[in-house]
């Protein structure tokens, strides 16, 4: 009843090819954006912004990046953490070398650096497929982090070996580092996610997105109908790494403030992979839902026992958290292997017919 496209006539090609062809979808997106921009920062306190919302937004961006590569182009990658690290370190290098460059421009520049590195490590994908490729991308993960740890140039030779976000101001407002207010950092992360999320949505329905999906479904067949595997696969690696790079940059500059390479270790790669699998492979909305699930569940698990008055040792609660988290993942994969995106689709089907499902 509420979600019904009947009566919405498309009278020109433009409206037929819109990103969101159905009115209800447009209204929904607009509502989400209005709430995210106008309402959330007013009702959320600092803890919520810093511990829940900002990481959620940043990981959503990374998940969209990985979903482009794994969900749409079918290339499994375990190097997400490393590509995020490239973005973070590139931002750090650029903004310390050229402090006068507008910080909001530095993020996309760092993304481009990450895209270059991603393309380089995407080269083996032309010959290696499936799990072999997944393990091969681990080479990127370990090599890049080792490089950032070992070579002083990357962290400006500071003795602690960490990179710290220097305060950068724009229009008189501090934008980065611990001095920036959580609201500002929230707005920056949100804007990047909104813009790049829409761009991704737009990208995957066009020619490029379709060629990715053709490669994913069967690369030999795709090659025969005239899609160049070289160009398509490398483009997927480049764009995916761009997203991951920007996410990594935001992770340091808008969330953590300072970090070592450990912030980007292999568990981050796994975490992002979890997000897209639980959210749904090949779905932009799924990436965001998956990111929400994976960032919020551990926080909930940490805070829940004290809330109901259970006092358990941190050691035990850490292990319990692991057990519950692992169990939930297995449970979700059994119940709905296609992820949240599929649940959302089913919900829409139901809404279309409600209240007369016959």
């Amino acid at each position: 009843m509420f979600y019904r496209e009947a009566g919405q006539f498309k009278t020109n090609y433009q409206s037929d090819q819109a990103v969101f062809p159905i009115l209800q979808d447009r209204v929904f997106i607009a509502l989400v954006l209005i709430i995210a921009y106008g309402v959330v920062p007013w009702i959320a306190d600092e803890y919520w912004l810093q511990a829940v919302l900002i990481p959620f937004l940043i990981f959503s961006l990374a998940a969209i990046g990985l979903n482009i590569l794994t969900g749409y182009a079918g290339q499994v990658s375990l190097g997400t953490g490393a590509f995020m690290a490239v973005g973070a370190y590139a931002t750090y290098k650029i903004t310390t070398a050229f402090p006068e460059i507008n910080i909001l421009l530095v993020y996309p520049m760092a993304g481009l650096v990450a895209a270059g590195v991603g393309t380089l490590f995407g080269l083996p994908s032309l010959r290696i497929k499936g799990f072999y490729l997944a393990v091969a991308t681990l080479a990127a993960q370990f090599f890049i982090l080792w490089l950032f740890n070992k070579v002083g140039w990357f962290f400006n030779d500071n003795p602690s070996g960490t990179i710290t976000a220097p305060p950068r101001a724009l229009f008189g407002i501090t934008m980065t580092g611990p001095e920036a207010s959580p609201e500002v950092r929230y707005y920056i992360s949100l804007t990047f996610l909104a813009v790049m999320g829409l761009a991704a949505k737009n990208l995957v329905r066009g020619r490029i997105g379709r060629s990715w999906m053709a490669i994913r479904d069967m690369d030999i067949a795709a090659e025969i109908i005239g899609i160049q595997p070289l160009k398509t696969k490398l483009l997927a690696f480049a764009i995916s790494s761009f997203y991951c790079g920007v996410a990594g940059a935001l992770m340091i500059f808008a969330w953590l403030g300072s970090a070592e390479t450990e912030a980007f270790d292999i568990f981050v790669s796994f975490q992002v992979l979890f997000m897209i699998i639980i959210g749904g492979l090949g779905s932009i909305l799924g990436s965001i839902l998956g990111a929400a699930f994976i960032t919020i569940v551990p926080i909930f698990l940490t805070n829940f026992p004290p809330m109901v008055g259970l006092a358990i040792s941190t050691d035990l609660s850490k292990h319990l958290e692991e057990i519950i988290f692992g169990g939930l993942i297995v449970f979700f994969l059994i119940v709905e292997p296609a992820g949240f995106a599929r649940l959302w689709q089913i919900a829409k089907e139901k809404l279309r017919q409600w209240p007369f499902p016959y």
């Binding site: 794994t70 499994v76 083996p124 010959r127 290696i128 497929k129 499936g130 799990f131 072999y132 393990v135 091969a136 681990l138 080479a139 370990f142 090599f143 080792w146 070992k150 070579v151 069967m218 030999i220 067949a221 025969i224 292999i266 796994f270 992979l273 979890f274 699998i277 492979l281 050691d315 035990l316 292990h319 319990l320 958290e321 692991e322 057990i323 988290f325 692992g326 169990g327 939930l328 993942i329 297995v330 994969l333 059994i334 292997p337």
Partner: protein, 311 residues
């Protein structure tokens, strides 16, 4: 120029300088390689028989070793403890089949892979809750005495690790190639549905293969635990086994062994002769780069089944 020297000349001069040392490096590399192979073997078994890329193998090693140590700490004799730990691994295999795999038949590879990562968390958490998370010493009575052949220093422990691995591989190879169950396992690996339709009991097969993998994990856990103590980091050796796997091929038992040996030797040589040129600590990624280089020439690994694609 200096860089070229340090990369391409100096290491070889060092090698030529003292061949005995080089031999020692190679042998210690081979013995480390055997240890990697033990872990990789578990991966291969499960992948061969159920097409599942079992990321939880490392956690299974940890779980098995923790169970063993926990029992021995409570005064259970070694032999009994090993038998009980093996029994626990069988129970675990039954549980995994009952609660996880049965519901995931015919899912895509990546979904199964993800499920085993979930299992990985489950096992790590529950193993450490049950038996505690501090470092434990494991001593099952394997002798560890150094001895010399010629000028080369060896230890009886490393030798027994090599012998155990050799026996294990022989038994597994015979099991896979010569027995009815082995044949059924290979059929399941080829095609779940086809195997079901010719009357192979999928559930039983999966329980058997996960039990065998659990048993291999127990052996690996004993060896690694004796060598470096039983602790959480034991589950991270799975990450060491992955390059071995892709180098040898996911589906080949001999591949796991040869791959392990190549990685072990390559890693040791690189660390000792080229490590200084890179500023050290290169063993974290060297194995992956080595495997990657091999893959560029043989995309299915050294002994993997040739990938034939039809449109």
């Amino acid at each position: 120029m200096e860089l070229l020297n340090i990369l391409f000349v100096a290491p070889f001069l060092d090698m030529a300088d003292s061949p005995v040392f080089l031999l020692e490096v190679i042998i210690s590399g081979l013995l480390t390689g055997v240890m990697y192979s033990l872990v990789a073997l578990g991966f291969v078994l499960i992948f061969k028989a159920s097409g599942v890329f079992n990321f939880a193998q490392g956690a299974m090693v940890l779980f098995a070793a923790l169970t063993l140590v926990g029992l021995m700490e409570r005064g259970v004799p070694v032999i009994v403890a090993i038998v009980v730990a093996a029994a626990v691994m069988v129970v675990l295999a039954v549980a995994i089949e009952r609660f996880m795999l049965r519901h995931l038949v015919n899912q895509e590879g990546i979904i199964l892979f993800m499920a085993t990562i979930g299992l990985n968390f489950l096992l790590e958490g529950s193993g450490q809750i049950a038996w505690g998370s501090d470092v434990k010493r494991l001593d099952v009575g394997l002798p560890d005495n150094p001895f010399e052949i010629g000028d080369i220093l060896l230890s009886t422990f490393d030798m027994s690790a090599a012998v155990i691995a050799a026996v294990l591989v022989t038994v597994l190879a015979v099991f896979f190639q010569r027995t009815t169950i082995g044949r059924a396992l290979r059929a399941v690996a080829d095609d779940h549905q086809a195997a079901l339709s010719v009357g192979i009991p999928l559930k039983t097969i999966w329980i058997i293969v996960w039990s065998v993998a659990g048993f291999v994990a127990l052996v690996a856990g004993i060896m690694w635990g004796t060598k470096s103590g039983v602790q959480f980091s034991l589950s991270l050796i799975a990450l060491k086994a992955l390059p071995v796997l892709i180098l040898g091929g996911f589906t080949s038992v001999p591949g796991a062994i040869i791959g392990g040996l190549i990685i072990g030797v390559g890693e040791k040589i690189a660390e000792i002769y080229w490590g200084p040129a890179f500023g050290g600590a290169i063993e974290g990624w060297f194995a992956y780069m080595l495997a990657l280089a091999f893959l560029l020439f043989r995309p299915q690994g050294l002994f993997g089944e040739k990938i034939i694609e039809r449109v």
